[in-house]
Structure formats: structure tokens, C-alpha cells
């Protein structure tokens, strides 16, 4: 494309400042929302009205906002679980399975110690809550470790493995909570037993404590990558496994490590949704829906380009969008699955925008350039 002495040209970026990367990410989200309005138009809904309803419910409504905040914490944990291996160049798309295993492990603790008629449990509740957290982290970590181990020691593709583990975990949850499974609710509604009131996650300032935990983890992981030796090793491996090996990084252990860490965080996400969010406190019948939500973590991790702090606002926005989307779907009599559709549209827009992280469009003056010689050949 030409305009006078200028011509439009694609250039490969040599460097990308974080401000620019942020701007591109923001643009990607805006573009996705614009694209998403097509769905409203197709359903004969004014997109502006729809977005106005989504945002006001998600962020300014006294019923919607707490839901948004809980979902935000969940998405943030899922994003962090994705980011940890992602910075090592590995794809953890198994947050779903890991959070199921985390939830199962946490509920196993209560299953083992329930029974006291007064509180419903046989150990001090504070201790049990701590044990539940540890169990959730451990359950997720050990489950993810399968993928990390296979990748590190045997070079098995982690995408396929984590996805396969998701399906296995999905059916394991069904096995545990349905058809006479060990954790089945005595009422037999295809869901797990409810947590006794004493061991439900405590609230701080009106929100489950897991939200603060998620924010704290985002800070810790930022520090891990910015300042620690192990963070440096992860980054080196992520950029070039061959170079990391040369430098003496243990390339069999490192994938295992990042999956252990990522899986632990995903396990906490499972604890958060099934044991800490008000109104749930059980592994619900539609646990598959919560599992699917974890895929937002992939998009969130990609849009924030692996930076835990950048993931915070993105997770907050996506949390609100998915809550608001579900709300307007009912409000405007739209088809089920609007939040799923949003997931898809966000993802595909993001894929398209990946291009702009690598290239820029510039107007080039077509006059002769000064004569420099050498370098490139």
C-alpha cells in the first residue's frame, strides 16, 4: 500500500516494551468484545445494552460483584497454574484435572475426620482447613507431576498428557460423587457431601480468604521470576532448553518442578471453588462447568504474556465478563453458553493478535536510504 513517498510495510519487531505489549493485549480484548457483539446482533439484542448490563451486573451490582470476585480468584489461580509451566515453555492445559484432584483431596480430609456431632469434625477446624489447603495443593501438584515427569524424563508431549489427565480426572470425580461413590451426598443428588459449617473457608472483609491467597501467590510468583535463581533457570529453560542444558540446568527435573508448582496452584483453585465460595461448599453436580472455566486461565495467561501481575486485571475482567454473560443470557432470553462463546471468541482474537506481538506495521519512506554497508549478508 502506497501513499505519496510512503508505503505500508510489515516489520519484525526487534524489541517490545511492556507498555506496548500491554496496549496490544488491551486492543485484543477490545477487538474480541467487538467481535462478540456479533452474537448479540444475531440474537436481535443491542450489543451496547448487553454490554451495559454485563458490566453493571458484574462490577456494580451487590449480587453480581461478590460472584465476580470469587470467579476472579478462581481465574487468577487457574492463570497462575498455566503461567508457571508456560514460562518454562511448557503448556499446562490440565488445570481442570488438577483442580478436580485438588478438590477431591481437600474433601478427603473432611471425609476422614468428619463425625463429631457438635462441629461435624473430629479435629480443630482451623487445623482441618489448613490440612484441606495442603491436601488440595498436594493433590493438584502430584497429579500435574505425571505430565511434568513424562515430559522431563521421557519427552512425552505435555499438551496431550495434561488434556488426557483432564478427562481421567473428570470421570474420577463422577466416580467419587455419583452412583454410590465414597463422597456421595446422602441425599443422592449426584453431588458430594456438604462441608460442615465449621470447616468452610473463613471470610475476610466479606470475601473468602482464598482471594487474598490468590493475590499473594501472584506477587510471590512475580518475585520468583524476577529475582530468584530457580526463576532464572525456569526462564532460561523456557527460552531455550538446549541453552539451559548447556548452562547446567537439570532439564529432566525442571519440567517436573514447574508442573508441581503449577499443579499445586490449580489444586488451590479447586479448593477455592468447592470449599471456599459462599453458597457452594460441595463438589457440585455441574462441576464440569467449573472445570471448563479453568480454560479461561489459558487465555488469561497468554494475554498477560506470562506475567502474574498483568494476569490480575485480566482475570478480574474475564471473571466479570463470564458472570455478566451468564446473567444477560437469562435476562435477555439468549441461548445457553454465552460465557462459553465468549471464551471461544476471546481465544481466537488473541491468536490473531499474537501476530502484532511479533510484527509492527509501519509507514516506510520509499526514498533511497543512506548507504551503510556490511553486517547483513
Amino acid at each position: 500500500m502506497k501513499l505519496g513517498p510512503y508505503r505500508l510495510q510489515l516489520q519484525k519487531r526487534l524489541a517490545l516494551s511492556s507498555a506496548k505489549a500491554g496496549a496490544i493485549s488491551l486492543l485484543a480484548i477490545v477487538a474480541a468484545l467487538a467481535l462478540f457483539s456479533l452474537l448479540f446482533i444475531l440474537a436481535d439484542v443491542n450489543p451496547l445494552t448487553a454490554y451495559q448490563k454485563i458490566f453493571s451486573y458484574a462490577f456494580f451490582n451487590r449480587f453480581g460483584l461478590p460472584l465476580t470476585i470469587s470467579r476472579f480468584a478462581f481465574l487468577l489461580l487457574a492463570s497462575l497454574a498455566f503461567i508457571l509451566p508456560f514460562r518454562a515453555g511448557l503448556w499446562n492445559i490440565g488445570m481442570t484435572g488438577q483442580l478436580y484432584l485438588g478438590a477431591l483431596a481437600a474433601f478427603a480430609v473432611i471425609f476422614l475426620f468428619k463425625g463429631d456431632p457438635a462441629t461435624g469434625v473430629r479435629l480443630p477446624p482451623a487445623l482441618l482447613i489448613l490440612l484441606m489447603l495442603l491436601a488440595a495443593a498436594l493433590g493438584g501438584a502430584l497429579y500435574a507431576a505425571i505430565a511434568g515427569f513424562l515430559r522431563g524424563s521421557y519427552g512425552v508431549n505435555e499438551i496431550v498428557v495434561t488434556m488426557i489427565l483432564n478427562f481421567i480426572a473428570f470421570w474420577l470425580v463422577s466416580y467419587m460423587i455419583k452412583d454410590g461413590g465414597m463422597f456421595m451426598n446422602p441425599g443422592g443428588r449426584g453431588e458430594s457431601f456438604e462441608l460442615p459449617a465449621a470447616v468452610r473457608a473463613p471470610m475476610i472483609l466479606g470475601a473468602p480468604f482464598t482471594i487474598y491467597l490468590a493475590l499473594l501467590l501472584a506477587l510471590l510468583i512475580t518475585f520468583l521470576f524476577a529475582r530468584t535463581r530457580i526463576g532464572y533457570e525456569i526462564k532460561a529453560y523456557g527460552q531455550s532448553p538446549a541453552a539451559a542444558r548447556y548452562a547446567g540446568v537439570n532439564t529432566a527435573f525442571l519440567p517436573l518442578l514447574v508442573f508441581l508448582l503449577g499443579g499445586a496452584v490449580a489444586g488451590l483453585a479447586g479448593y477455592h471453588y468447592f470449599a471456599a465460595v459462599p453458597g457452594v461448599y460441595k463438589i457440585a453436580r455441574n462441576y464440569g462447568f467449573f472445570g471448563d472455566l479453568a480454560f479461561y486461565g489459558i487465555i488469561c495467561g497468554l494475554i498477560s504474556r506470562g506475567h502474574p501481575l498483568a494476569a490480575i486485571p485480566v482475570a478480574f475482567l474475564f471473571g466479570g465478563l463470564s458472570i455478566g454473560g451468564r446473567f444477560v443470557q437469562g435476562e435477555l432470553n439468549m441461548s445457553f453458553g454465552l460465557d462459553y462463546a465468549l471464551l471461544g471468541v476471546l481465544m481466537i482474537t488473541l491468536v490473531a493478535f499474537q501476530f502484532f506481538f511479533r510484527y509492527q506495521i509501519a509507514w516506510i519512506k520509499t526514498d533511497k536510504e543512506p548507504r551503510h554497508v556490511g553486517i547483513r549478508n
Binding site: 529475582r227 532464572y232 527460552q239 531455550s240 548447556y246 547446567g248 549478508n377
Partner: protein, 519 residues
């Protein structure tokens, strides 16, 4: 049929002409008004250093790049090449330095690939007959059903030449035709080139620095420097010195002074070492040698004879199948890489862009690659970035790395500067054993000198240096001991002082084993 342009040409006819070829890249003028004429039956060398504009010119000739200005004439007719296919159709064939062959495919599949007559359903019988006829005509011997990865370098080159000839090439462009060949293979190739030029083929070898080869084969030479033609010479009227001067723009000293250092304790002892290649065959077969303090032990050989695997086995990057490796008397045969670094190993890998550095890392993080395991720089698992930055800035100053600062990413350094940075990083650890794998490959003359002098300085600092190089002259001029390597075996260990070039050359091509010297 466009190839008709070149049918019926006679010896001495002009087959190819370039007029005023100019090519710019952002900020760089790679080719500046290049004129060039080529006649049938002529071998016309194009000589120039890295960065002189050879590759650009070659890619223009072959349609991979399009010139910004200038014209190309084939058989007197003006042509434009939009892609290699156009060039091939005009009868231009190209033999690339980094072989353009599909390794997993058979020789014949490679030769017919993309050929317009290959047909929809592959008919290999007819193709086979034609290719065999070509082989007989020029005396090539190659198994058409072998997979390409099984072939030696020289054979791969023949396959490329055959591919061009099968396509009806009348003009053959050879990129660094002898760079990966051992001396006897080179001889054979030069004979084939002669035979082809007798057959009215025009042959254009592009060569960086092997001046004797230019002198031995070509009829005429065009020298490029900084994107321009600086000389057009008849080969009979030139000497090595005069060519080098035209190419570099100054007189070049061809030999380095040997430094005598008292020999100390043995540092690296390798006993009967064997290791496998990525493809699973034994790439290093029972190598035994010792490197002492204050000496350079040179391994000479053409790439792909197991040097890479040897270096990786010694540095902990490849499993040792058999044998023992001792570093300062301690067995490290199966020790992890980090342990070896901590025990005094320093390794300069041949792949400086993909293994020795990380493109998106700053120079500070690049230096950290050899320091992150050092508790002085990462106390309690936390990186002391102030200290690493200081070290990086010191190294940049000491080694004269041309960079705007320590925050710059490794990808933005030129090859020579990046190699300086890697060298600085590795040597700053004061390694007791330095393994340098092809440390000067692809660098320009100035950087080569710099690197070689640093190796000598390491030797002077009483390090044991293991130098792996394809450049026989480099090995001979730097090393105290020379071990030619061929198909995974060390063919002998000769004192560097007084080793005969020809003798080493024959050994690294698999000639009879030399008498063992005991270092």
C-alpha cells in the same frame, strides 16, 4: 521452453551477465552496482569475506532475493527471477553450503523433487536411468537409494550437483564448495568440476577464504568487499597474498606466533570414550587422550565426524556409553553438567546463537548463564543483579564488546560480538579446562584473530585447552598437540610443532593411522 536460451551454446559464449545489481536491506547496502560476466566452460570464482555481499548476490542469482536495481541477462536475454523456480528454468543450478537436501528422503527422491517432469504419479524408473547416465559421464559414484542422512558430506554435494544437472542446469553456482570436505574429497570434487567445465558448463564457486582452492581451479576471479566489486583478475596473474589483500583491504598475516608454556599437571584425561549420536549410532569410538595445564590440544576434522558428540560427552550434555573422563583426577564420566562447571570446566559451544546464548536474554542474563549456580552471585537462591550487572559491564569493557549497554538483548549483537561476550563469560570463570568447539566459525577476520589470541591467553594462564576446529590451518597454528578425527576415531596424536599439513589432512580423511605420539 525457456531453457532453450542456453541450448546450443559454445565454449566462450557469454551465458550470464549481471549489470549494476544493487540490493538494500534496512540500513544496509548489501550489493552496490555489481557487474559480472560469465562464459560457457569457465570456472569463475567469487571471493569475499563474510559480510562482503556474496550471499546476497548468490541469492539474487538464484531468485531467492530480488535486486532493487540492475539487470540480469541469461544468454543475452533480459530476465527477472521471482523465485528459484524461474532461475532453475533458465538453467541456473545452485549447490548450497548448508546442504539443501531432505535428509530423511532417498537420494533419488531428492533429485526428482520439484522436477517438472516428475509427473503426478512418481515414475522413478526413467529418472533413474537418466541420473545414472549423468553419473557415468562425470564419474560420480553415489547410491541412489541411500537415505541422504547416511551419506558423507562429499556425496551430499554430489547429490546437489546431480539435482541441478538433472534439471538441465548450464550454470552451476557452488557456495563454499570445499568448506565441509576433507582434503582428499576436495581433490575429487575439483576434478569433477574440471570435467564439467570441459563440457561447456559455466561454474561459479563462491569462496570465503580458501585461497589455494581458488588459485588451483578457477580461470577468473571477482573479488567483493563491502558490497562492491574491488577486483576482476585472471587467476594466472594472482597470488594468495594479492587475493587476500583485495579481499580484506589490508595485508594479512597468515600465521600466529606459537607461545611456549611449561607443561603442567594433566587436567583432562579421557580413556576409551564412546558416545552415540542423536540417531543412535556410535559417533565417538574409543577416544583416549590427555590434556595438560598450559597446552592446547587441537582436534582437527571435518564436521560430522564425532567432534560435536565428543564435546558434548565431555561437558555432560551427552551420555557416555563407555570409557572414563577425569577432570583434575576426579572421575566425572557421568557427572551432571553443572557439577563440571563448578569443578573448573568452561565450554564454548559451536552453536553460539542457540546453545551458547539465549536470543531474548539481556547481556546481564547472558553472563548469568555461567554464574547463576555461583553462591557469590546468587546468595540464598536470590540473584544479586547489581553484582552481575557490574561483572557484565566489566566484561563488555575488557573484551571490547560493541553494544550500547548491558541491557541489550543477545539477539541484537553481531556474531563476532556475541562470541566475544560468550568467551568473556566463560573465561572470566578462569576455567582449568576450556573446551572450545568451532570458536571462530563464521566470524570475520578481526574477530577470528581476537578469539584465537584469547585461546592463547587462556593457555598462558595455565588452562588446559581443547580446541575443536574444522580449519586445519587454525588447529595447526594454535595447537601443541593435534589429533585428526575421522568417523568417531582419533587417527593419531601428533605434536603440533612441525606437523605436516598434508599428513594431518590425509589422517582426517580416514587415511592410514599415524604413529602414536605420547603427550
Amino acid at each position: 521452453m525457456p531453457q532453450a536460451i542456453l541450448s546450443g551454446i559454445k565454449r566462450g559464449d557469454v551465458v550470464l551477465e549481471l549489470r549494476g545489481i544493487t540490493k538494500r536491506f534496512p540500513g544496509v547496502l548489501a550489493n552496490d552496482q555489481i557487474d559480472f560476466t560469465m562464459r560457457a566452460g569457465e570456472i569463475h570464482a567469487i571471493l569475499g569475506e563474510n559480510g562482503a555481499g556474496k550471499s546476497t548476490l548468490m541469492n539474487i542469482l538464484f531468485g531467492l532475493l530480488q535486486p532493487d536495481e540492475g539487470e540480469i541477462y541469461v544468454g543475452g536475454q533480459k530476465v527477472t527471477f521471482r523465485s528459484p523456480l524461474d532461475a532453475i528454468e533458465m538453467g541456473i543450478g545452485m549447490v548450497h553450503q548448508n546442504r539443501k537436501l531432505v535428509l530423511a528422503h532417498s537420494v533419488i527422491e531428492n533429485i526428482v523433487l520439484g522436477h517438472p517432469r516428475a509427473g503426478k504419479i512418481l515414475n522413478l524408473t526413467q529418472a533413474r536411468a537418466e541420473i545414472e547416465a549423468l553419473c557415468r559421464r562425470y564419474g560420480f559414484a553415489v547410491d541412489l537409494d541411500a537415505k541422504v542422512w547416511q551419506l558423507a558430506e562429499g556425496e551430499k554435494q554430489l547429490v546437489e550437483i546431480l539435482k541441478s544437472l538433472y534439471r538441465g542446469a548450464k550454470i552451476l553456482i557452488l557456495d563454499e564448495p570445499t568448506s565441509a570436505l576433507a582434503p582428499p574429497e576436495t581433490k575429487k570434487l575439483l576434478a569433477s568440476i574440471e570435467a564439467m567445465s570441459q563440457d561447456e558448463l559455466a561454474i561459479v564457486p563462491f569462496i570465503t577464504h580458501k585461497l589455494p582452492i581458488v588459485l588451483a581451479t578457477s580461470h577468473r576471479v571477482t573479488v567483493l568487499r563491502q558490497g562492491r566489486v574491488t577486483a576482476r583478475l585472471e587467476t594466472v596473474h594472482s597470488t594468495e597474498q594479492s587475493l587476500a589483500k583485495e579481499m580484506v583491504g589490508r595485508e594479512v598475516i597468515f600465521r600466529l606466533d606459537r607461545v611456549a608454556v611449561a607443561r603442567g599437571e594433566p587436567v583432562l584425561q579421557v580413556q576409551n570414550l564412546s558416545a552415540r549420536s542423536d540417531r543412535g549410532f556410535m559417533a565417538v569410538k574409543g577416544a583416549s587422550f590427555t590434556v595438560h595445564e598450559g597446552e592446547i590440544f587441537g582436534i582437527a576434522g571435518v564436521s560430522g565426524n564425532g567432534q560435536q558428540e565428543l564435546a558434548e560427552a565431555l561437558t555432560g550434555l551427552r551420555k557416555v556409553e563407555e570409557g572414563k573422563v577425569l577432570l583434575k583426577g576426579e572421575e566425572i564420566t557421568h557427572a551432571p553438567a553443572r557439577r563440571r562447571w563448578q569443578r573448573g570446566l568452561g565450554y564454548i559451544p559451536s552453536e553460539r546463537n542457540t546453545v551458547g546464548s539465549i536470543a531474548d536474554f539481556s547481556l546481564i542474563d547472558t553472563v548469568l548463564m555461567n554464574y547463576y549456580f555461583d553462591h557469590d552471585y546468587t546468595p540464598r537462591g536470590l540473584v544479586d543483579y547489581a553484582r552481575v550487572r557490574q561483572l557484565t559491564e566489566d566484561l563488555i569493557a575488557e573484551y571490547g564488546v560493541a553494544t550500547p549497554g548491558a541491557e541489550v538483548k543477545a539477539r541484537n549483537l553481531s556474531g563476532g560480538n556475541l562470541q566475544k561476550m560468550i568467551l568473556a563469560r566463560v573465561l572470566s570463570r578462569k576455567p582449568r579446562l576450556l573446551i572450545a568447539n568451532l570458536p571462530t566459525q563464521g566470524l570475520d577476520v578481526g574477530a577470528i584473530e581476537f578469539v584465537q589470541n584469547k585461546l592463547i591467553a587462556a593457555k598462558r594462564d595455565k588452562a588446559a585447552v581443547l580446541l575443536i576446529s574444522e580449519d586445519l590451518d587454525e588447529v595447526l597454528s594454535l595447537s601443541d598437540w593435534v589429533a585428526p578425527m575421522y568417523e568417531g576415531e582419533l587417527m593419531g596424536i601428533l605434536p603440533g610443532e612441525g606437523a605436516l599439513r598434508e599428513h594431518v589432512g590425509v589422517l582426517m580423511a580416514g587415511g592410514a593411522k599415524g604413529e602414536e605420539a605420547t603427550p
